[in-house]
């Protein structure tokens, strides 16, 4: 079953990068929408939530149009940095990041919204700057909710199929993640391999859900 470990490693790599990107952008945008008011806020929230309700293949198609060789972003990436994302594992990261994004973003926004602004005010009077307040007060108080969202995003990214297939294809050892390998194994009639891959995927997801369940928001670090 050696051929099963390559897709597993690739899946963990892709999902790991997607989770890291989700951490940065999901937390930043979740904070922005929770704490500031500006015109178009509801529209932005809707757009950022879109990947949760749209079929992944549609998201994948959008990405192809945008970052493909003739797409506006793809052309710019190619001419400026010489980067091509289509049929690469980085392309798979992009697809997984976007499909999993609403899970982090929504959790982060909700977690920031339940942090009482009075704690931030108290820190302000104690002469602490705004950036330090974010890292010392707001983020620690919202952290559990964010972490739960990140774990769900990791699971979602690891199981991504539709958008990844559209953007990155199914190149064994390069872009063929677990969920795509399962599909290919079934198509090829390799039942043993398919069973094994399904088992590995299921166990990974159960572990992630168990960890996420222990991190339900509302509990604050330091509470016993």
């Amino acid at each position: 079953m050696a051929e099963a470990w390559i897709p597993l490693g690739l899946t963990l790599k892709v999902a790991g990068w997607a989770t890291l990107l989700n951490l940065i952008f999901g937390v930043a945008l979740g904070y922005l929408l929770a704490r500031t008011r500006f015109p178009g806020r509801d529209l932005l929230d809707a757009i950022l939530t879109l990947p949760m309700v749209m079929p992944p293949t549609v998201m994948g198609y959008y990405l192809l149009v945008l970052v493909g060789r003739n797409g506006p972003v793809g052309e710019w990436l190619m001419s400026t940095f010489g980067i091509n994302l289509i049929f690469t594992w980085q392309g798979a990261v992009l697809a997984a990041t976007i499909v999993a994004f609403p899970l982090t973003f929504k959790s982060a926004r909700a977690a920031f919204e339940v942090v009482d602004p009075q704690y931030e005010q108290a820190a302000r009077v104690l002469r602490i700057g705004e950036l330090a307040i974010f890292f010392r007060v707001t983020l620690p108080l919202a952290w559990r909710g964010i972490l739960a969202g990140l774990l769900l995003a990791f699971a979602r990214a690891a199981g991504e199929f539709g958008a990844t297939l559209m953007v990155a294809g199914s190149i064994p050892g390069k872009t063929q993640t677990l969920s795509i390998a399962v599909y290919e194994a079934v198509q090829a009639g390799q039942d043993g391999l398919a069973n094994f891959l399904v088992l590995v995927t299921s166990l990974t997801c159960i572990v992630v859900l168990l960890v996420a369940g222990r991190l339900v928001p509302g509990r604050v670090p330091g509470q016993s």
């Binding site: 005010q121 104690l126 602490i128 604050v220």
Partner: protein, 230 residues
């Protein structure tokens, strides 16, 4: 002149609007703003601290301008050098008593360590008899211990004045009497000006050198605390 305050702010809501127009000048060390809830006391205190922005007016403390719309002065809450005790104390729930008190002394993007010891923090912990709970979290404290932790956190940075928003409202009656006494003695020792807002007459009688009534967004004349009973 300790306080020279002149603040105006209007809220226009769908169902009703509120207009705050508070002026007072006072040289009283322990000054209390007294009035029913919804009179605008909390808002006044927040504007003095810089946590809310007035529409117009000025705030001077000991001759120094903290806010003056006409002269375009508007110091951030960080630069006003005031201490603020919130009604429910707003102790950071993820930090221990020691970390809460050391919070303002500690610069940078990380919180003080649980094991960090500042001389000033230790002094306040001893003064308020918080040694036994120094490493506990706010939710494990009694009401009195919470209030003392909040006071220590506010005072450790040596503020220019102490602002208190209904500091005894969250405590039971017997404790209130004791802690009023304690706060009064402490302020006499420290000599920093106090501005306290309350709707409880007993706060006025046992703590205030002078009282200003606030009603419906307006402040009255400064009075002797005894005048309240009359």
């Amino acid at each position: 002149m300790i306080w020279d305050v002149d603040l105006r702010k209007r809220f226009v809501g769908r169902t009703h609007s509120f207009e705050l127009d508070v002026q007072f000048r006072s040289d009283t060390h322990k000054l209390v703003l007294f009035g029913p809830s919804g009179a605008g006391k909390s808002l006044t205190l927040k504007m003095i601290a810089g946590l809310e922005t007035p529409d117009d007016g000025h705030v001077c403390l000991g001759g120094a301008s903290l806010y003056d719309r006409g002269r375009r002065v508007d110091l951030s809450p960080q630069r006003r050098g005031l201490a603020y005790v919130f009604q429910d104390y707003a102790l950071f729930p993820h930090l221990t008593v020691v970390q809460n008190i050391a919070f303002g002394l500690h610069r940078g993007l990380a919180n003080p360590r649980r094991t960090a010891r500042h001389e000033a923090v230790t002094r306040w912990i001893e003064a308020f008899h918080l040694e036994s709970v120094a490493n506990q979290y706010p939710e494990q404290l009694s009401g009195g211990q919470r209030q003392r932790t909040a006071l220590a956190r506010a005072l450790v940075a040596e503020p220019r004045a102490l602002l208190l928003d209904e500091p005894f409202a969250a405590l039971d009656r017997s404790l209130r009497r004791h802690l009023r006494q304690e706060l009064s003695e402490l302020l006499d020792q420290l000599g920093i000006p106090m501005l306290l807002i309350t709707h409880d007459e007993e706060d006025v009688v046992s703590l205030a050198d002078a009282v200003i009534r606030v009603h419906d967004g307006r402040a009255g004349e400064e009075q002797e605390p005894a005048a309240l009973a009359a």
